[in-house]
Structure formats: structure tokens, C-alpha cells
Subunit: 363 residues, 2 copies
């Protein structure tokens, strides 16, 4: 959100609670000091423009609690009009790196503490499954009900996110037994695809497994174009177990850099189980890793054939000790969907190789 | 959105316009045929669960226009209660690959055509700039006004998105001269940072420049971990000009795979202009490309020093013919911000090397 929209939000909330906007001099001065950094980086910046922008950010509704800016926009807690009951409105800046820490700060203010003190506390649990359609979870809810579990006492939300089904449940602490029975039903019916019951995502599970084993990983990707390496290195500290990767987009890179035998490509095509396995082996040997990931597929929109349609992706995950998992998946959707989903499948196959269970349905 | 939320939306809109929900038999049958694909992929699926889910999707408010499902959820155009004036509500499924084509279909229905026929048509223009703070644009708006340009006749929105400033302007066709004068003011004041005036993004400009020159590109990335290669290969047809990349996360991969002289790392550190340049050169020589991109930096949260803080990233873009651009940037924010912004800077430096102008502020 630009300053224009931020200003507008504060103004609208101020109007709603009938509180005139006023300049907070101290806040203006504090924001100005934050802007020092901008002035150093852009020495030719128009200082009047910056001052005007600064002043707008420092206009706040009278009687509002100001949350210190993380960037240059303050947060606001705007109480209802004096003498009235009604909701307080919390206004926070939109960029996640400002929003998230400021929300944490907001929770510690006496204003929000007072509101939260009146609220019921809920338990929150999340189960994650990979490789089943959402309708299977809907059926599990019906089965749980048929088994006499009072699932109406739970607030259950299911969400299909990047190919994974998330089952989020909120419940009052008194309903812990009901939740336990529900979770047991999910475990019994979906043992093969349930991969997380503690909020962890597959990325963290792969990272933890590599750290625990003291092993390293490397990739040789074609259709995903670097997305798997990017995702593996997304976590802080990943340099401890990620050696790196090869983006083998052109066939010459597959052979010259990743070490794939050209005869394999000639015999089976670039998108094949054999080439995926050779890419995984190349990732291990060329980058000196313990675990190698090979991916080759057709992300489209062109390049599909009847035998090898757009969306077909071959995966191989290999360990230096000889263990190997290979798998093909035909992923629906457009180019971005196919690349993104393939990245998730790759991580689940790595998880399967390292942990031996869950997250990928059997054949 | 899961089926639960979709159903809820249709129900809420039906209640709002006082239209009871009814099963559309023909729609149910059409969705069932779409689900054939799911049934083939998961032969053990619970067919009753799928039927029940299907039937829910086929419940629609009476009198609503049904838009054919792209996935399994239909769209709806729900008119106001019979005999009343009021807004029609268009309900579309959330996933972008269903939403976008269905919106195109919705626009062609007689219901929406009738509404759109009563609307004013607006012109829409977008300018994109890179390397300036948003406050500079706010000042340009003030300058335009001071020059007598009636910018209140234009609806101007500025947005900072992934480090780029977007200036989006909507105006009635009769105000074309006012817009032309405004755009001229932006061009005059921001010649060095304006890089797009036709809606194109830097990714497309780089792709077009490579195609036009018949040249290829390759990457050797450290801190961005494959994000630059992933972004270059995000566009359909990128296999025509992307050779591939090396994710040189570990220093041994920088030397053994990307061909960086270990003496450079010993003398200058892995995060240095010299190593960035050697990575770019390695991308060209090892992957057989015309243009090489080298990136090395400190994405954090650990690994920063006083001399080389978290956020410091060195870039080099080199051409086989000897032209080279190098640049260091210290990027604020967290690990994800740093990696993402570095990817954008890299693309702008490639653009600068290929096109010679704009998009990166001068030193």
C-alpha cells in the first residue's frame, strides 16, 4: 500500500469513530529519523517531498494508541467514540515484514490485552496431508460423525494449498477429547498421506531430517528451472546441508554439466524415468552431495505429445548409498501450477526417501 | 477455497437476494463428467463422498445464471430479488486458473453486458520505475499540479511492488491530453528509472531482448538459490534462450562446478565483486551462454559482519563479447525480502546490459 492508501485508511477509521485527525509531533520526529536511511541511500532525494510524506504518516486519530513504525508507517489502535461501546479498530501497515512484528507488538498493548482478556481461548491444531483430493476429507468428517464423534463441537476448516490438504481445527479446551477422537479417525483413514500433525511443513521436515543425518542435498532440475533449489535454500541456515544445484534446462547442460549420458536422452527422451535418475545421480556426483534430486518434465504450454502430455513430470530422488525413489506425476493446470506442484512433489519424495513414510500415496 | 467455503458463499449471496437454493440437475451431471478425471487418477476414491461433494457444487440460487465450471465449481451471476433494483452479485471460484477464464466468460453473458453497457469506459495506462522511493512520485504529482496539469481529472494510483514503483492511471477518454501532459512530466523527471510504459514487466523485456538478439543466458547464483533461473524460466518458450544455471551455494560448488578460482574467494571473500564477476564468467563458459549472471550475497539472518552486513549482494552481468555490469546493493528486510529483491535487481541489470538504458539509477 502506498502512503495514499495508508492515509486513507487512518482517515476512514477516524471518521468511523468520530475522532479528528491530528499531527503527532513526536511521531513525526521519530519517522524522520527512520528516513535518515532513505536520505543516505538517495542523496539527491527531494527533501520537501519526503517531509510532506513524513507528515502525512504522522497524522493520527485523536485518542488512538500509536504503535511504533517498523518501516515508516505507524500502527494505530483506535477506540470507539468516547462514552460509547463498540469495537476498537487496529490499523496496521500491509507489507508482511512491517505487519507481522507490529501485530506482535499490538498484542502486548494494554488496549488489546484488555480485549483479549475477555475472549475465550481456543486450541488450534493442524494436520497436513499430501496426495489426496479434498473430497476424501469431507467424507472423513461424515464418517467421524457417523461414528458418534461430536464434530460440531469443533471448528474444522479444510484448505487445499499447493497440492496439500490442510485440516485446521479450533476448539475450546473442554472439547479436547472430541478433538482427539477426530484426529484418531483421520490417522486411521489417511495413514499413508498424513505427513504433519505439529504445524511443520514438508520443507522443515526435510531440513530437520538432513540435519539429523548430517547429510547434504543437491538438485539437477529441468522443468522446475531452479524452484526446488530455491525452496531448499529458502530456510535460514540451509547452507549447512544444501550444496547447490544445476538448472539443466538445455539438453547440452544436462549432458555437459549434470553428466547425463546423451545416449539415455536419445533412447528415452529428455522427459523419462532414466533421465530423471541420471540427473539425480549427476547432482550427487557433480556437486558432492549425499542426496540428489532429478526432475524433468513438460511445463507447457507447448512441447506436449499424446504419449508425453503437458504436465508430465518425472522425479528421481537418490541417496549416495544406493536407495532411489522414482515417480511420474501428470499435473493439471497451467505452466505456473505445474512448476509449483512439481516442486512440492519433489520435496515429498525427498521426505519419503529420508523418513520412509507418509506424504506420497502408494502405487 | 475448499468446497465448504464455496458453498457458504453461494448460500450467503442467495440469502442476501432472497433466492432459495435449488439443485441444478444438468449442472450436477456436467460436474460429474469433469470428475471422471479425478476418479481415473484415484481409483480407490470414495465415490459416495465425491457424489455428495458434486451435489453441493450443483446447488445454485433460483434465477441465477450459471457459468460453466472450469474446474468443478460453477460461477454464478445472482440478480437482485425479483421486482427490485440493486446490484447483481457475481460469484467466482478462487483459484486463479479457474477465476481468470471464468471472469472472461462472465463478461460475455447478456447479464453483465447489460450492466457494462451503462458504464463509462476508462483508459488505463501503467508506468513502471525501478530504483526510486515512492515519495519521489508523490512529489512528481505535486510538481505536475504546480505546472497547471489538472491531475484531479485522472485517477492515479501508485504502488510499490517488489521494489518497483507502479503508476497506474485511469481516465475518461476526453482527458487524454491531461494524461499525456502528466506522463511527459514523469518522463522528464524520471528518465533514468522509468523502464516500462506499455504494461510490460522487466521479465518480458529481458526475454524479448534475448530473442531479438538471438542470444542465450545462464546463471550462477549463490544467495538467490535458483530464484533468478526460476524467474527466467517462468515464461513460456524460455527454453529458446535460457541455457540453465548453477546454484553455487557451497563454495566448493562455486569453484568445482562454476569454475571460480579459489584464490579469488580466499583473497576477496565469497561475497565480493570479483567472485560475482567470476560466477558470471563461469555461467557463460560452463553452460555455453552468451550472457551470464553472477550473484553472491548474504541473505541472513546469520553471516553478516560490519564490513559485509546481511543484505549485501554483489551482482555481475557479463556478455561473451566482454561487456560487463557489476553492482552491489544492500537490501533491507528479512531473508525472503533480500532474496526476492536481489532477483529483481538481477533482471534489471540484465535489462541494462541488453538495452543500455533505464531501470537502474546511475551512480
Amino acid at each position: 500500500m502506498g502512503p495514499t492508501e495508508d492515509d486513507l485508511t487512518a482517515q476512514v477509521v477516524a471518521d468511523f469513530h468520530r475522532r479528528p485527525m491530528a499531527l503527532d509531533d513526536a511521531l513525526e520526529e521519530r519517522i524522520w529519523r527512520v528516513l535518515e536511511n532513505v536520505r543516505v541511500r538517495w542523496p539527491n532525494i527531494d527533501e520537501d517531498a519526503l517531509r510532506a510524506s513524513n507528515r502525512k504518516q504522522a497524522m493520527v486519530p485523536q485518542g488512538a494508541t500509536v504503535l511504533e513504525p517498523i518501516g515508516t508507517a505507524p500502527g494505530l489502535i483506535v477506540p470507539p467514540p468516547d462514552g460509547e461501546n463498540g469495537p476498537s479498530v487496529v490499523v496496521l501497515p500491509g507489507p508482511p515484514r512491517e505487519l507481522q512484528p507490529m501485530w506482535t507488538n499490538a498484542l502486548e498493548t494494554p488496549e488489546l490485552q484488555a480485549i483479549l482478556g475477555r475472549a475465550t481461548e481456543y486450541e488450534l491444531r493442524m494436520l497436513r496431508l499430501f496426495g489426496i483430493p479434498e473430497s476424501e476429507i469431507a467424507e472423513t468428517l461424515r464418517a467421524a460423525r457417523a461414528d458418534g464423534i461430536d464434530i460440531d463441537a469443533l471448528e474444522i476448516t479444510t484448505c487445499l494449498r499447493r497440492g496439500e490438504v490442510e485440516v485446521v481445527t479450533r476448539y475450546e479446551p473442554s472439547q479436547a477429547d472430541v478433538y482427539a477422537a477426530f484426529e484418531e479417525t483421520v490417522r486411521a483413514r489417511h495413514a499413508g498421506t498424513l505427513f504433519s500433525d505439529d504445524g511443520s511443513v514438508v520443507d522443515e521436515q526435510v531440513a530437520d531430517a538432513l540435519r539429523a543425518a548430517g547429510e547434504t542435498i543437491a538438485t539437477a532440475e529441468s522443468c522446475t528451472g531452479g524452484l526446488v533449489a530455491a525452496r531448499l535454500t529458502d530456510l535460514p541456515g540451509s547452507s549447512a546441508y544444501v550444496r547447490g544445484g544445476i538448472v539443466a534446462y538445455d539438453n547440452a547442460v544436462k549432458t555437459d554439466v549434470a553428466g547425463v549420458d546423451p545416449a539415455l536422452i536419445a533412447a528415452h527422451g529428455a522427459v523419462s524415468e532414466e533421465v530423471a535418475a541420471a540427473l539425480a545421480a549427476g547432482a550427487i556426483s557433480r556437486l558432492g552431495a549425499d542426496v540428489g534430486v532429478g526432475i524433468t518434465g513438460i511445463a507447457g504450454p507447448d512441447g506436449g505429445t499424446e504419449e508425453k502430455p503437458v504436465g508430465l513430470v518425472w522425479f528421481a530422488v537418490a541417496h549416495r548409498d544406493g536407495r532411489t525413489v522414482t515417480r511420474d506425476v501428470t499435473i493439471p493446470g497451467g505452466r505456473a501450477d505445474i512448476r509449483d506442484r512439481a516442486t512440492t512433489v519433489a520435496l515429498h519424495l525427498v521426505r519419503r526417501l529420508l523418513l520412509g513414510t507418509g506424504g506420497i500415496p502408494g502405487r
